[in-house]
C-alpha cells in the first residue's frame, strides 16, 4: 500500500522553527548567565515528502518538536527557515490572504478533546463555524452540512444543539474530527488524537480516521508518542529526536528492522501485551533524559545517550541518507555497506 500512492502533496525542504528566548546580553552575563543567546531549535532542518492519500506517522518523545512541526505545516507557528510546499506552493512565505485560502485544505485535529472545543458553543456551531468562515454554505444549508458530517463521524444528528460537556472524551474527539472534515480538506495534521482516550475508544477513533481516509482520499500527518498506534495507522514513519528526523521508512521496516540507535531503543522500550515476549525481551534502556532543546548537544543530538557514540559523533552533524531502499537514517556510524549499527 505504500509505493507510489500518488503525487506529492506536502514537501518539506530544510524546515526550521526556532524560538529565540533572548539572553546573551550584558545583563545576562552580569547575572551569571552563560553569555550565550538561548535559542530553542524546535524543528531544525526537516525534509520529507508526504504523498496524496498517505499517512505519515511522526513519532518522538515530548519536547522533540513533533507538535511544532505539525503546527508549522499549517503555519500555525512562524517558520524560521526552509520551505513547506503544499502542492508546490510554499506555505512558509505566503501572505495572510493566500494562507487563509489554503487553510481550508489544511486542517488539524488536536490531542485534548476537552480543551480544543469552545464550551459555550453548541456542537452545531462548532462544526458550522469553519463552513461559514470559508463561505461554503450559508443559512439553512450550513445545518444540513453539519448534520451530514456528524453522521459521517458517527455522531447522531440529534446532538446538534448540545454542548461539549455533554459528551464523553471519545465523542468529543469525533466532534473535533467533524470540525476538521467540515470544510472538505485534503490534508489533516492529527496531533496525538488518541492519547487522551481509553483503550477501547482509541481503537474506535483510529478505525474512524482510516475509514474517512479511504472514503475521502485524505492525507494525514499522524503525530503520536505511541509507537503501537503509529505502526498501526501509518504507511511510513518518521522518528524525530530533538528537532531532527533521525529515521524514515515504512512502518514495517521501522518496526522490524530499525537502523538508528534511537529508533532501536524507542521500539525496544514499548511494552507489549504478551507476557511471553516480555519475559524474553532484551530491552535497550537508554540512560539519562532527553537533553534540553535549548542549545542542544553538538553534532548528533543523540550522542549524549547513544550506546554506540564515538568521538566523531560530537562533531559531525549526521545527514538523513538512504541506507536501504526507501529507508533513511541519520547516523554517521552506519552506511549502505554496513547498515547494522552492531557491526559498526
Amino acid at each position: 500500500m505504500t509505493e507510489n500512492r500518488g503525487n506529492t502533496l506536502i514537501s518539506l525542504e530544510g524546515l526550521k522553527v526556532y524560538y529565540d528566548l533572548g539572553g546573551g546580553g550584558l545583563l545576562d552575563r552580569l547575572t551569571g548567565g552563560s553569555g550565550e543567546r538561548r535559542v530553542v531549535k524546535a524543528v531544525d532542518g526537516v525534509s520529507f515528502d508526504i504523498k496524496e492519500g498517505e499517512t505519515l506517522g511522526l513519532v518522538g518523545e515530548s519536547g522533540c518538536g513533533k507538535s511544532t512541526l505539525g503546527k508549522a505545516l499549517l503555519r500555525l507557528t512562524d517558520i524560521t527557515g526552509g520551505r513547506a510546499l503544499f502542492k508546490g506552493e510554499d506555505i512558509a512565505h505566503m501572505s495572510g490572504r493566500q494562507l487563509r485560502e489554503k487553510r481550508r485544505h489544511l486542517q488539524m485535529i488536536f490531542q485534548d478533546p476537552y480543551a480544543s472545543l469552545n464550551p459555550r458553543m453548541t456542537v452545531g456551531n462548532i462544526i458550522g463555524e469553519p463552513i461559514r468562515t470559508f463561505g461554503l454554505a450559508n443559512g439553512k444549508s450550513v445545518e444540513a452540512m453539519v448534520k451530514d458530517v456528524m453522521e459521517t463521524v458517527g455522531l447522531s444528528r440529534r446532538f446538534i444543539k448540545r454542548y461539549p460537556h455533554e459528551f464523553s472524551g471519545g465523542q468529543r474527539q469525533r466532534i473535533g474530527i467533524a470540525r476538521a472534515l467540515a470544510v472538505d480538506p485534503e490534508f489533516i495534521v492529527a496531533d496525538e488524537p488518541i492519547s487522551a482516550l481509553d483503550v477501547s475508544i482509541q481503537a474506535q477513533i483510529m478505525n474512524l480516521m482510516q475509514e474517512l481516509q479511504k472514503e475521502k482520499n485524505l492525507t494525514y500527518l499522524f503525530i503520536s508518542h505511541d509507537l503501537r498506534a503509529i505502526r498501526h495507522v501509518s504507511d511510513r514513519v518518521a522518528v524525530m529526536y530533538l528537532g531532527e528526523i533521525v529515521e524514515l521508512a515504512t512502518g514495517k521496516e521501522i518496526y522490524d528492522e530499525p537502523l538508528h540507535p534511537y529508533s532501536k531503543a524507542l521500539i525496544s522500550a514499548v511494552p507489549l501485551p504478551d507476557p511471553e515476549i516480555e519475559a524474553k525481551r532484551e530491552r535497550i534502556i537508554l540512560t539519562g533524559d532527553v537533553p534540553s532543546p535549548i542549545n542542544p548537544p553538538t553534532g548528533c543530538h543523540f550522542h549524549t545517550r547513544c550506546p554506540y557514540a564515538i568521538e566523531d559523533c560530537k562533531k559531525t552533524d549526521p545527514q538523513l541518507v538512504e541506507i536501504k531502499p526507501d529507508h533513511f537514517a541519520a547516523c554517521i556510524r552506519i552506511s549502505r555497506e554496513r547498515p547494522r549499527i552492531e557491526d559498526a
Binding site: D198, S200, H225, D274, I277, E278
Partner: protein, 337 residues
C-alpha cells in the same frame, strides 16, 4: 504462590460508594483479591472502572463525604485496616504501605527542597535525627539512580525532569522499606524510553527489597512484563482475575478479550481495521440490571441484559464475571484471534 497463609493483603468484598447529585455511584462494588509477600498484582481498567478508588480505599484515603467504604474487609498483615483509628492508619501509610501516583509534579510540594520532603518521611516514621534522615535521603536518591545525589538532594522539584521526579517519588515511597507499594499509573505521564527506565527500576527494587506491588494501569503492555497476576475491572466490578500468563493466553471474559484485541499488534500488517469494542463505558450511576458490559458485548444474549452474571470459577486461580465464562474460555484455547 498459592498458599494462603503468606497473604500480606486480603481484600474481601470491598464496596466503596459515592453519593452524587446523580444518585449513588458504586465506584467499587464487591472487589476481592489477595496478595502474598513479594507478589505483584496488576489492576487493569479504563477510566471510571474503579481501579484507583479500590486502592485509595485500601489506604483509607476516600474523602467522606461524598465517598464511603460501605462494606468489606481490608486485612493488611492480619489487621483490618477499616477498623483502625485514623492515627493508626497514618502509622501504616507511608511506612508499611507506600504509594506513587501518575503525576509526580502534583504529588511533590513545589516549595520544599527534595531533601526536606524525603527527610520528613523517615523522621516521622523511623524516628531519624536530622543528620540520619539527610544521609538516608541521599542514599535513597542514589538507589533510584539519580546522578549526583549529594548535590541534587537540595534541589527543588521543578529542577528535575518528569522521569527524575518520578524517581524522587519512588525514593520517597521506598524510604521506609514498605511491605506494599501501590503504584497508580506510575508511568502514564512519562515518555516511552523513560517509562522503560522506571519500570525496570521498580522491578529491581522490588526484587531487592521483597516489596509486594499493586500496579494500577490502563496499559496491558505494562502489566504483561511486570506482574504475577492480573485483575481486570469494569464498572466497579472485577470482570476477570487470573495469573498473568493465563489471562493473556486464555481470557475467559469477552471484555478482556476485546481489550486485548483492540491494542494494535506491531507484528500485524497495517491497513486492516483494528478490533473495536463498540459503544462507550457505562454511566456508573445508572447501571442496567444485567451485565454492565452487555450492550457493548458481541456475544450478548437475552439473559445478559436481564440477569447480573455470576463470577464463574474457571480453575483454582482464574475467575470471570460472565454468563458464558466457560464457553469464552473454551474458545480462547484455539488461539482466539
Amino acid at each position: 504462590m498459592s498458599e494462603n497463609n503468606g497473604n500480606l493483603l486480603t481484600v474481601n468484598d470491598l464496596r466503596t460508594y459515592f453519593q452524587t447529585e446523580d444518585g449513588t455511584v458504586k465506584a467499587v462494588d464487591g472487589v476481592s483479591f489477595q496478595l502474598t509477600k513479594g507478589e505483584t498484582i496488576g489492576i487493569v481498567g479504563e477510566s471510571g472502572s474503579g481501579k484507583s478508588v479500590a486502592n485509595l480505599s485500601i489506604m483509607r484515603l476516600i474523602p467522606e463525604p461524598p465517598g464511603k467504604i460501605v462494606n468489606g474487609d481490608i486485612i493488611f498483615d492480619g489487621q483490618d485496616v477499616r477498623k483502625l483509628s485514623i492515627e493508626e492508619v497514618r502509622k501504616i501509610r507511608g511506612k508499611r504501605i507506600a504509594m506513587i501516583f501518575q503525576d509526580p509534579m502534583t504529588s511533590l510540594n513545589p516549595f520544599l527542597k527534595i531533601s526536606t520532603q524525603l527527610m520528613e518521611v523517615t523522621q516521622l516514621h523511623l524516628g531519624h535525627t536530622k543528620k540520619q534522615a539527610y544521609d538516608h535521603a541521599v542514599e535513597m536518591l542514589r538507589k533510584v539512580e539519580i546522578p549526583d545525589p549529594e548535590k541534587r538532594v537540595d534541589n527543588y522539584p521543578h529542577e528535575f525532569s518528569g522521569g527524575m521526579r518520578q524517581r524522587v517519588m519512588i525514593a520517597m515511597a521506598l524510604s521506609c522499606q514498605p511491605e506494599l507499594l501501590i503504584a497508580d499509573e506510575p508511568t502514564t505521564a512519562l515518555d516511552v524510553t523513560i517509562q522503560a527506565q522506571i519500570l525496570e527500576l521498580i522491578k529491581e527494587l522490588k526484587d531487592e527489597l521483597g516489596t509486594s506491588v499493586i500496579l494500577i494501569t490502563h496499559d496491558l503492555g505494562v502489566v504483561a512484563g511486570m506482574t504475577d497476576k492480573i485483575i481486570v475491572m469494569y464498572a466497579g466490578k472485577i470482570f476477570e482475575s487470573a495469573p498473568t500468563g493465563e489471562l493473556f493466553e486464555r481470557p475467559a471474559n469477552p471484555y478482556t478479550k476485546g481489550l486485548l484485541r483492540s491494542v494494535p499488534d506491531p507484528a500485524h500488517e497495517h491497513g486492516a481495521p483494528l478490533y473495536q469494542i463498540p459503544g462507550l463505558p457505562p454511566d456508573v450511576a445508572h447501571l442496567p440490571p444485567g451485565c454492565p458490559f452487555a450492550e457493548r458485548c458481541e456475544r450478548s444474549k437475552e439473559i445478559c441484559e436481564r440477569e447480573f452474571p455470576p463470577f464463574v470459577q474457571i480453575n483454582e486461580n482464574h475467575h470471570s464475571l460472565c454468563h458464558f465464562a466457560k464457553e469464552v474460555y473454551a474458545e480462547s484455547a484455539g488461539g482466539g484471534e
